[in-house]
Subunit: 161 residues, 2 copies
DNA sequence: ATCATTATGGACCTATGATATCCATTATAA
DNA sequence: TTATAATGGATATCATAGGTCCATAATGAT
């Protein structure tokens, strides 16, 4: 249970793009030099980010990438979901087991019409809750958050002198 | 980014053990019949749970498994960590990149003696925060939680009649 | 219009880890 | 002593992550 390296790369690439917003179109060469990743691999990742509308890309001379939206509107959650996919953290794999009938289906049957038919037990509910927690947290941080914190600390350091 | 099936199996097995606490020593045969999983695979998982002191095992006739501790003291987090391992959700993979120097090391250098030398940037901090959130949530639920909720709903259903 | 440049996407490869099985051995209680 | 049940090593299979290469398409500069 770990985030993939691709997610790491994607976040770092976006931060570099955000830091360089003045001059448009950062090429893949500059990106992979900054991140220390191979050009061919990073371009796959950038392509994904483009398909999901997080960056814009323009080919040709002086082409490259730029953020498609303000850095403050690109959340960690979004980036992670683009790269990792959107499967659930926990997926029931025993839906026809005796135990599932015991914990989920019989229970659902007892509850008659109200709250009907979701046929999920507490295990699933707890895990889904964990996922919601995680998502809520990751939605609160954006690419801009990282830049802000960096420059705030910079100012703080300057004020001390 | 998903929990493995093994984690699924482990949780379900522990719930069955907890439900059967009256009679000790549930054999692997009963467990895998209840869960609908192969005997050979589940035994690996049970072995891990034993090595980490979550269940006790006794071989031989009428042997089997039982919880090593009260179900209320076995948290989701613990089970997950035993099966999934304890690596961090996010591990920096570019610690010698130009960008890391920019975001983390230079910053650390600026801060002189106070708050010294951790050399981590905000990305890492956000991700570690996400992990803490997740862990805190998963620590609040135990195997007993699932049983309690199941029986409470059962009583509720009875009272309605 | 041509050209150098840059992103794109398909094909491909390798390494790693999850999932799964089999069996010989060990430990235990009856 | 013996039948039984857990253990751990070896092995197989499969999916995914991680990574490379190249032919093609798109673009701005000339
Ligand atoms: S609903 Fe509950 S019992 Fe059924 S498969 Fe999912 S986790 Fe297991
Ligand atoms: S500390 Fe920050 S910049 Fe450095 S590798 Fe980790 S996430 Fe990237």
């Amino acid at each position: 249970m770990q985030f993939s390296k691709s997610t790491d790369y994607a976040l770092h690439a976006l931060i570099h793009l955000a830091q360089s917003e003045r001059r448009n179109n950062i090429g893949i060469k500059e990106l992979c030099a900054t991140l220390g990743v191979s050009e061919s691999y990073l371009s796959k990742i950038m392509s994904k980010l483009r398909q999901d509308g997080i960056v814009r890309a323009v080919p040709g001379v002086n082409g490259g990438y730029e953020l498609a939206r303000p850095a403050g509107e690109i959340t960690f959650l979004e980036v992670i979901q683009v790269i990792e996919g959107r499967q659930q953290l926990f997926e029931c794999s025993n839906l026809d087991s005796q135990q599932h009938r015991l914990l989920a289906e019989d229970r659902a049957a007892r509850q008659d019409q109200d709250c009907q038919g979701q046929s999920e037990c507490l295990v699933k509910k707890v895990m889904d809750g964990a996922e919601r927690q995680l998502h809520q947290y990751l939605r609160e941080y954006t690419i801009q958050s990282v830049l802000d914190a960096a420059s705030k600390e910079c100012n703080h350091a300057l004020n001390k002198k």
